[in-house]
Symmetry: C2
Subunit: 338 residues, 2 copies
DNA sequence: TTGTAGGCGTTATCAC
DNA sequence: GTGATAACGCCTACAA
């Protein structure tokens, strides 16, 4: 870091800009905040001065004077961050950050220690934060919902059970049904599914979508096995499915990672994808394309989710009323497996 | 959010605590900041009052009055965040957040748009941030180094070429050499490597470590192919390696993901791991354990890296002098592949 | 449309 | 050891 020896000017303040432009601080403040009622000539002069001294508003002073925090917090439950390398997390953050970049809000992150939740609570309720976003996979991490009573909060994903909180999610059920219909329209009739955990909304909704589509088509929906969204569990479930002895020519898997697991056992049994069994996954993550043949799957727009979450939070903060649940559209990515 | 109707108390201030405790604001401030010269009886009374009104210091006011920012920024280059699902990123963030949780600093994140870098620059130099952390894979993203002249900065990973900046990294070369030595001590003599891109420090250092160990043992180091750290590139490199016709009984791969790629072709050729060819990877990420047989690899302590980065940054901010480069130790995780 | 002035919640410098 | 009292940099009635 540069030595603080001699020639260091102080960071420019409103005052300095005002002096240089020959106006009052109030006026400079107005142009900085885009208040319309400023004479354009003066505004121009002020802007010039701002550039000249390289002025940047002091966020702390701003927040203090305006009596409103200018940052929003992203809460990451500790349990989640323990999952080494979570793709979901990184993408949501990215979306959130992208959206906030165009606002005056700053994004800060806390990982919520389950050991001392009061700390996080105090941080959020201390008046230092305008709103909060909660990203987690597990329904148990909904322990923050009650804070919605005091500060705007938006969650990622539908909560388990009823809840009055705001959240954004994809329509897992509809997307799963769509994926299944693809299999059906391809002429498959013995369609199995590898479902996710039934204590997580995505697990529940995705199998429910599969059932929906199967019922529509009058097909048998008894071919189901469960996994926990991991690759290994997908392989095991596939083994059980095959072990039943019943014919299978189509497979809907609740996420791509389990689909990759299913691939391995399908292929070790000599079953060809998609000729013998067509498979479609869910999420469109890195597993979908790293597998061979590449997986046809439901695209889960995580970055968009992040953006939307941020957008809704800002709306909430600024008092606009918005819908409690917002679903963002998915799409089917047709590749080689179905 | 709760309606702002009637019964809403204002957020408690120092003033209110002072009144309740029957002391001056100055005294309350002292106990809040752990200034030693406070009578213990009075301090106790103040603490009680703090609890009573549920007081939380206003960070903006604090920052303003103390003339020092209380947040540090994590910069994520846009190019990096585009990599869908980056495990490295999530873990570094986690480490950073964990460390900062015990300090008075708040962590905020910006994704640096390459379109308008001035924006990020202004944010960092505007005096609103005490220091910054840069996490990226690519050497090109070192465009922030020059800011080190104005504000404390710490980077993740050794920069390409010389640089006067602070960074924390693992000793890639030593670790790679260690991994290779394991192969050698297991009696392998025809050891190939799948190296990473040679324009990235980890790519460079890891192959260099392999060469080191091979030279030590007097082994031939001509069996090398390059990948770009992706699974697919690992598979391709393996194909080329095998295509050379030379015998191979050991393989060091510059990261686990490429190792997973190599697995697929090794196995489709009927080569057994580790019997026919023993393989060791690098990173110890999720690929290492999702592959069969599980991969022996170098454990890359990413979370620790994050913690260390934050620690160094805080030291820098507080004026302590610290070493410019700090390397954190790796370890070899012996599983089934070597 | 512009300027004046008070205040936001803390810290920090003084006296006491 | 404790308490006034100025800042800190900015916003915002209110007045002009």
């Amino acid at each position: 870091m540069k030595q603080d020896t001699s020639g260091n000017r102080p960071t420019p303040t409103l005052e300095m800009v005002a002096a240089l432009a020959g106006v009052s601080r109030a006026t400079v403040s107005r142009v900085v905040n885009d208040v319309p009622s400023v004479d354009e000539d003066i505004a121009a002069k002020v802007r010039q001065a701002i550039l000249a001294v390289n002025y940047t508003p002091n966020r702390a002073a701003r927040s203090l004077a305006s009596r409103r925090p200018n940052s929003v917090t992203l809460i990451v439950p500790e349990s989640m961050s323990k999952v080494f390398a979570d793709p979901f997390f990184a993408s949501v953050v990215q979306g959130v950050a992208l959206y906030l970049a165009d606002t005056d809000y700053t994004l800060n992150m806390v990982i919520a220690s389950e050991a001392k939740p009061e700390k996080t609570r105090a941080f959020l309720l201390g008046g230092n934060v305008a709103g909060a976003l909660v990203v987690s996979h597990h329904a148990g991490d909904r322990s923050w919902t009650h804070l919605s009573d005091y500060i705007p909060m938006v969650f990622a994903g539908r909560p388990l059970g009823e809840s009055a909180s705001y959240y954004v999610d994809v329509d897992n059920e509809a997307a799963a049904a769509g994926a299944t219909r693809l299999l059906i329209s391809n002429g498959r009739t013995n369609i199995a599914t590898i479902a996710g955990p039934q204590d997580m909304p995505p697990g529940i909704d995705r199998i429910s979508g599969w059932r929906l589509a199967m019922a529509e088509a009058g097909l048998d929906d008894s071919l189901v096995e469960y996994g926990d969204f991991t690759l290994a569990s997908g392989a095991k479930a596939m083994r059980r499915l095959l072990g039943s002895g019943k014919p299978i020519d189509g497979l809907f898997v609740a996420n791509d990672q389990m689909a990759a697991g299913a691939y391995t056992v399908l292929q070790e049994r000599g079953l060809r994808i998609p000729q013998d069994v067509a498979v479609v996954g869910f999420d469109d993550d890195s597993f979908a394309t790293s597998v061979n043949p590449q997986l046809t799957t439901v695209h889960h727009p995580i970055i968009e989710m992040g953006k939307k979450m941020a957008e809704i939070l800002v709306d909430l903060i600024e008092g606009k009323d918005t819908a409690r649940v917002t679903q963002i559209p998915t799409s089917l990515v047709i590749r080689e497996s179905a």
